[in-house]
């Protein structure tokens, strides 16, 4: 027996299903399709030079040594990589991460490391266990869009920390923390998405002092650390305030974003709550992927792979900065990162990069209008994010040249 239409009221089941819409939770019913998604969709049309995305270059992926790595993993761990595992993470991966994190001054035991399904899940679980509606969350201005997306369903109120070319201004953070009742501070200290800015060592010290003084909680989201093309690594904020900082990293910018592997070290209380939340969300992160990443680090693949990625991206960043210098109008300024994936350009007041987007697409170049990265509306209309990791040098040059022409026309 089969009944595809089940009601006696004459309506077809599909019509009635629309009614589920009014059963949605208030947090969901308010979720609109993201404008940025539409922008990225347009940007991925064939023939468009896309400086809009945030994707690693596919040619950076470890396809060549992957069969070898997979064989090693299957031989070493056997069926365990296909079985359920602990919520906190695959034990050998946590063990190896502890050593990996120590290199950046994050000295934790394996038990203190938790694995998440990408950094995004770290942000979501922290939002889930920390934010009650109306709670204050202090963010950089601009800040990472995915973090806003993760936090928004929990209905925080954002406080924007003032920033300049060196990232957040410690005095501004100090003032915000002094005012009290900030649930947590969210920062990307290295090669920030979207701005490309890096917070210098002395500011990190000041920030660490502030969070200790006010016993605040700070999330140090550090996905781009490994992608440094020039200069020296800076100390993590965690290393200066371990009891107040959640330090988070990812395998997405080295091994592969598709594996969805993030990791964090958090104060014990926060860590336990994150694990509790994660149990209900997905039980644990893919054991197989964790085993791959464990061997990737342990067997020296990362060490050999990372220089290849750096060598791929360094000339792309160079090409972008050189082209901006050569072609962009004098009324523009832009960040000059030593790593990461993004450059941030700021035009003259009155420029509206959102409005110009359609014209750029007509000329087959895409970027992300900067206003979407600000927690308050109406800010950053004259800014844009430019990605260089997923485009070759020639295309970068062509794309920047075209944009320069468009920007000059619009701001003249």
């Amino acid at each position: 027996m089969s009944i595809s239409i089940v009601t006696g009221d004459g309506k077809r089941s599909s019509e009635r299903a629309e009614a589920f819409g009014d059963r949605l939770a208030s947090r969901t019913a308010g979720m609109k399709a993201s404008v940025l998604r539409e922008i990225l969709k347009v940007a991925s049309q064939p023939g468009v030079i896309s400086l809009a995305g945030g994707l690693p270059a596919p040619e950076s992926f470890p396809v060549d040594f992957m069969p070898e790595l997979i064989a090693k993993v299957l031989k070493k761990y056997g069926p365990a990589v296909f079985q359920y595992g602990p919520t906190e993470g695959f034990p050998p991966f946590r063990e190896i991460l502890a050593g990996y994190l120590a290199e950046r001054g994050v000295k934790a035991t394996a038990d203190e490391v938790i694995v998440t399904t990408g950094s995004q899940q770290m942000l979501d679980t922290l939002g889930k266990v920390l934010i009650s509606p109306g709670d204050k969350v202090a963010v950089e201005s601009p800040t990472y869009l995915g973090a806003l997306a993760a936090f928004n369903p929990y209905q925080p109120n954002y406080v924007a920390i003032d920033s300049d070319d060196d990232g957040v201004i410690p005095e501004s953070l100090e003032e915000i923390l002094a005012a009290g009742s900030v649930k947590f501070v969210y920062l990307i200290p290295n090669f920030q998405n979207p701005s490309g800015r890096t917070i210098p060592a002395d500011r990190r010290k000041a920030i660490a002092k502030s969070v200790i003084r006010y016993n605040a909680l700070l999330i140090e989201d550090d996905p781009y650390r490994a992608l440094r093309y020039e200069g020296n690594h800076l100390p993590t904020i965690w290393s200066m305030a371990p009891d107040n900082v959640v330090h988070a990293g990812t395998m997405s910018k080295v091994l592969s974003p598709g594996l969805r592997l993030g990791f964090s070290v958090a104060p014990a209380l926060i860590r336990r709550w994150m694990v509790l939340a994660k149990q209900g969300i997905d039980l644990h992160t893919s054991s197989f992927d964790q085993a791959l990443a464990a061997e990737y680090i342990a067997e020296g693949y990362l060490e050999r792979h990372l220089p290849r990625i750096v060598d791929l991206y360094r000339p792309r960043l160079r090409a972008m900065l050189d082209s901006l210098e050569e072609f962009f109008p004098d009324s523009f300024s832009w960040s000059k990162p030593q790593g990461g994936m993004f450059v941030w350009a700021t035009g003259p007041e009155g420029l509206d990069t959102d409005k110009l987007y359609a014209k750029a697409i007509e000329r087959k170049v895409a970027y992300v209008p900067g206003q979407y990265f600000f927690s308050s509306p109406g800010v950053g209309k004259n800014t844009m994010r430019l990605n260089f990791s997923n485009v070759g040098e020639e295309a970068i040059k062509t794309g920047i040249k075209t944009l320069a022409w468009l920007m000059a026309e619009a701001s003249s």
Partner: protein, 402 residues
């Protein structure tokens, strides 16, 4: 002694969100920790038998993924999942359930995440959910965060009793009906076809979505197949499915099949949660199924679990004292035991662990904390020898404590 049970994390330093403070650590996870001590024969987990994992087939599929697909298998992908796998699942759902398109399908990190996405998308504080009594504890864990309330419905051998369900619907105006319709976790009970039809009629009359957590439906080793709720109810039903029991749980792959009009919301919620499910394992499963390996593998699982269930049930019949009842499921991974009313399975567990055998006591599966005299036994994970030995130990314990 059980550690961590009913534990509340101290919140002295940073204030945890007010709605989270009430959450408790998963009792089952704590029991699993204890039962994984060396020498303990554990019927506590819900783990598939690792010796059945299709290692060679997965290795071959992995090789194809790397050589044939290359870089895209390692890149970010769509929040709904890779199109190839979604198309394949839509085709299979069309063949086995009801007409399904790629737009009905969203890939999740296991069925657990599918439940959690449903909770996120639908549940406001204080909303009621209809559940079976008892029900899957992982679903309660996912729903609890959103401060759901439960309108529980008793079951008999045919599953949830529709008349009871209707009473609860009229009284509580629930947001959702959540059921594990096939070989339910924890009881092993399967909803009869007649009951399915009645439940769908009820859901239609009151315009309530049915969430069918169908993680075990493919593992039937006895009796006649029953049409899925999805095949009977179409867009009335959001089906939650999983590869955990039919391929491998460690890949964390499941999927939802729901009405097209609602899938955009799930997509957005999924994006905020973890962007998308891991790409490599999606390609892996796609190639595994495309190579025609799934059906033969399910057949192997069925054969293995049937023998284990038969052995467990026979050992129980031969050794358990009078006055104990249990279900004899036609599929899945679990059976359910009811001790005499005065007995507490929770109090017996430390004694059982001392005798090197473990189970999960029933209380966590009851939203109101009842069911003191019940326990769940898993028969998929232990070897034949351990099933006989473990059940014999359990029988001894029960005899001593009757």
């Amino acid at each position: 002694m059980l550690v961590g049970q009913n534990e509340k994390v101290q919140t002295e330093q940073w204030k945890i969100a007010t709605h989270v403070v009430e959450l408790e650590s998963s009792i089952i996870r704590e029991i699993l920790k204890i039962s994984s001590q060396p020498g303990v024969i554990s019927f506590a987990g819900g783990l598939p038998a690792p010796e059945l994992f299709p290692m060679e087939e997965l290795r071959e599929a992995m090789e194809i993924v790397v050589t044939k697909h290359g870089a895209p298998a390692f890149q970010y992908t769509l929040s709904r999942g890779i199109p190839q796998l979604r198309e394949l699942l839509a085709e299979r759902a069309t063949a086995y359930d009801t007409a399904t398109s790629v737009d009905n399908i969203l890939i999740t990190a296991g069925a657990q995440q599918a439940i959690e996405l449903v909770a996120r998308a639908f549940i406001d504080r204080g909303d009621y959910i209809i559940t079976e009594y008892p029900t899957y504890v992982g679903a309660l864990q996912a729903f609890n965060y959103y401060q759901a309330k439960y309108a529980t419905v008793e079951m008999d051998a045919e599953g949830m009793i529709p008349e009871r369900a209707e009473e609860k619907i009229l009284k509580y105006e629930p947001k959702l009906i959540y059921t594990v319709s096939n070989f339910q976790n924890p009881t092993g009970i399967t909803m009869s076809e007649n009951r399915r039809v009645k439940l769908i009629e009820l859901a239609a009359r009151h315009n309530i979505p049915i969430i069918d957590d169908n993680s075990y439906g493919d593992i039937r080793f006895a009796g006649q197949p029953v049409p899925s709720l999805k095949s009977l109810g179409g867009d009335r039903v959001i089906a939650l499915r999983s590869f955990s029991k039919i391929i491998a749980p460690g890949l964390r792959l499941g999927w939802m099949n729901g009405p097209e009009s609602i899938m955009g919301y799930f997509e957005r919620v999924k994006q905020c949660t973890d962007l998308h499910t891991n790409t490599l394992c999606q390609y892996l499963i796609y190639e595994f199924i495309s190579a025609g390996k799934l059906e033969a593998h399910i057949a192997r699982i069925i054969k293995d679990y049937r023998a284990k269930r038969d052995l467990m049930v026979q050992t129980m019949r031969d050794n358990f004292p009078e006055g104990i009842r249990w279900t004899e499921p036609e599929g899945g991974l679990f059976l359910w035991v009811e001790l005499p009313e005065h007995m507490s399975a929770k109090e017996l567990l430390p004694k059982a662990v001392a005798m090197k055998v473990a189970y999960v006591y029933g209380e966590p599966f009851f939203p109101d904390g009842q069911g003191q005299n019940t326990l769940r036994l898993n028969f998929s994970n232990a070897t034949h020898d351990n099933i006989v030995e473990g059940i014999t130990r359990l029988a001894e314990l029960l005899k001593e404590n009757m």
